[in-house]
């Protein structure tokens, strides 16, 4: 049953995508070829897919960690921005010490992400404020914060545009393979996915987190520290999204500008849903969405299909999945 509905969702999504390609006046076969070429067709293309995977995989992991513990953290996008802002703030402080600059970014970014999630965690446990509402509001605050930072305290005085001072080239992560944009950041993301999979599935902590997420009352009655587990998951989720933002700066952009996030936090949630809320599944969907994103520029250039197709297809797939599951009466 599960296999059949998954196949039905996949077929439906592909059919819808083919329809959209036809609407744009292109042939689906050519579009598919262009997409695959753009995502994997060359060294640079594959590198782009890997580079784009980092943020999506980490954001998806953030969603998994929170959602599995029963915390609906919709604030990943704001936490991503907080991490990026922290990276842009501390990275340029050490112009002559690239290693220290990297270390500062890798420490500050997850911390900032966790701090960005902290008010929502506090409001949820102490004031019964639904995290959905508080995290959406915190996303607005974070976006405004970036607007302020790049025009105010972090502004690069030498540039014409409102953007932060750049990290030195020596501090930025070098490409794994020359001529590509893929860096060690993607390996960090994949390692964290494996670690999260191990912790969730194989450790007492993971079991306790899942117990709290699946049945908060029963977990509490069994003596589990439910408040601490939920809060910890919330902060860890924020830290993962914050790290995503920090690595985006350290590996790709070198600085902060406004607007900085193209909805990575939200797409991460979609990737986690498509990945069945498991770390490895979510990492795989995150990488798939990254390939779609990388391939879509070739799609627009070579086949004349608007690149926005890359954000429609994941959304359609997840909606189909939600419908298929709802029909079977599964909760999540």
């Amino acid at each position: 049953m599960r296999v059949r509905s998954t196949l039905a969702v996949a077929a439906g999504t592909l059919a819808a995508a083919a329809l959209l390609v036809l609407l744009a006046g292109a042939s689906p076969a050519e579009a598919l070829a262009a997409l695959v070429r753009g995502a994997f067709g060359s060294k640079a293309a594959a590198g782009e897919t890997f580079a784009r995977s980092t943020g999506l995989v980490l954001a998806a992991l953030g969603a998994v960690v929170a959602f599995r513990a029963g915390v609906l953290n919709i604030g990943l996008d704001g936490q991503f921005l907080a991490g990026a802002a922290a990276a842009a703030a501390v990275g340029p402080l050490f112009p002559d010490l690239p290693v220290l600059a990297r270390a500062a970014v890798v420490l500050a970014a997850p911390l900032a992400g966790a701090l960005q999630a902290a008010p929502a965690a506090w409001l949820s446990e102490k004031r019964q404020v639904p995290p959905v509402l508080s995290t959406i509001l915190l996303n607005l605050v974070a976006a405004a914060g970036v607007t302020w930072l790049v025009r105010g305290p972090l502004r690069d005085p030498s540039g014409d545009y409102p953007q932060s001072r750049a990290l030195t080239d020596a501090a930025l992560l070098p490409p794994l393979v020359p001529g590509t944009r893929a860096t060690a950041a993607v390996l960090v993301a994949l390692a964290l996915a494996a670690a999260a999979a191990f912790v969730l599935a194989r450790t007492p902590l993971g079991l306790a987190m899942r117990a709290v997420g699946e049945s908060p009352r029963a977990a509490r009655a069994a003596g589990l520290p439910d408040v601490r587990l939920r809060t910890g998951a919330f902060l860890a989720s924020g830290a993962l999204a914050g790290l995503a933002g920090g690595l985006e700066v350290l590996a790709l952009t070198g600085r902060l500008y406004d607007p900085f996030s193209a909805g990575v936090g939200y797409t991460g949630i979609a990737a986690a849903l498509l990945g069945g809320m498991t770390p490895l599944g979510s990492a795989a969907s995150g990488a798939l969405f990254a390939a779609l994103g990388a391939g879509s520029s070739a799609l627009q250039r070579d086949a004349g299909v608007p690149s926005a197709l890359a954000s429609i297809v994941p959304a359609l797939a997840v909606l189909g999945l939600l419908l298929a599951r709802a029909r079977r009466g599964e909760d999540r």
Partner: protein
């Protein structure tokens, strides 16, 4: 100063319309956090209709039809099929952002120039009459919720759906109706932007207004009448922000951007448990 008041009202109206629809849906016990997406769809449909040469009133009508569709789609997923409304809303935002960007490309082609549409004429109060009328929407909703039988049933669906069901009434039907209406309001909010202050379309033109409207509902503690001063305040603050931005002040501008989020967070934090939210908010229909 008349320019300032006019801009404040024009900025408040789309927020107010979207927030009124969202409040209606939340009072019925569901929640659509994809309001941003619905506003975006409304804005795009209004733009596309305007580009085809039809007048602004027709653009609003077309947008409300699209909003009806969006609302019914949400109802199918989140109400009838009982998928988690939060997840449906999150994905709906992504879909709407992608779909409107895709469709814009098809309508506008490769052009880099700004394509404009015609706007509503000024009416009695110096602003278009339809903008003025949108300030009556929360008042009408207040009266409808408090004074009419369907209004009371809608409140029951949000506060005590089991009771509604024990009367032999369908919670799914009530919430689906609310979702359809809120889709219309949300899309009208987005469309109102296009036929008044920003007569064009760009990707993500709603710029977070849907999320601000969600904040307004919380800030108003789920009371329709409280939406009016809250939206006016927000419209005024945004209009002020435009002035400050033109004046080149960095800090106050971003501070005002963050203000609505802060204020709504504070409202949530200071309110006693759940701050007046409908008791069954977000729970599946029995």
């Amino acid at each position: 100063m008349s320019g300032f008041v006019e801009i404040a009202l024009l900025l408040a109206a789309p927020l107010l319309l979207a927030a009124t629809g969202e409040l209606l849906l939340e009072r019925a016990g569901s929640i659509q956090i994809g309001l941003e997406g619905t506003m975006l769809v409304g804005a795009f449909v209004a733009f596309a209709t305007g580009r085809s040469g039809l007048p602004p009133a027709a653009a609003l009508a077309a947008a409300s039809v699209a909003g009806l569709g969006a609302g019914l789609l949400f109802a199918l997923f989140a109400v009838a099929r009982r998928a988690d409304p939060i997840l449906v809303g999150t994905v709906w935002n992504l879909l709407a952002l992608g779909a409107t960007a895709f469709a814009y490309r098809l309508v506008a082609g490769e052009t880099g120039s700004v394509l404009e549409v015609s706007t509503l004429p000024r009416g009695l109060f110096g602003i278009p009459d339809l903008v003025a009328a949108s300030f009556l929407a929360p008042v009408a909703l207040h009266a409808w919720l408090a004074r009419t039988r369907p209004g009371l049933r809608l409140t029951a669906a949000g506060e005590n759906p089991e009771a509604l069901r024990s009367l032999g009434l369908s919670v799914v039907a009530v919430r689906s109706g609310a979702a359809a209406a809120s889709g219309v309001f949300g899309a009208l909010g987005g469309a109102m932007l296009v036929v008044t202050i920003s007569p064009t379309f760009v990707e993500g033109i709603t710029a977070g207004r849907g999320f601000l409207a969600l904040a307004l509902v919380v800030f108003a503690r789920w009371k329709p009448l409280a939406l009016v001063p809250a939206a006016l305040l927000l419209g005024g603050v945004t209009a002020l922000q435009y002035r400050l931005q033109a004046g080149g002040f960095g800090l106050p501008y971003a501070f005002f951007l963050a203000l609505p989020g802060f204020v709504a967070l504070a409202a949530l934090a200071l309110a006693s448990a759940r701050g007046g939210a409908p008791k069954a908010l977000g729970s599946p229909a029995p």
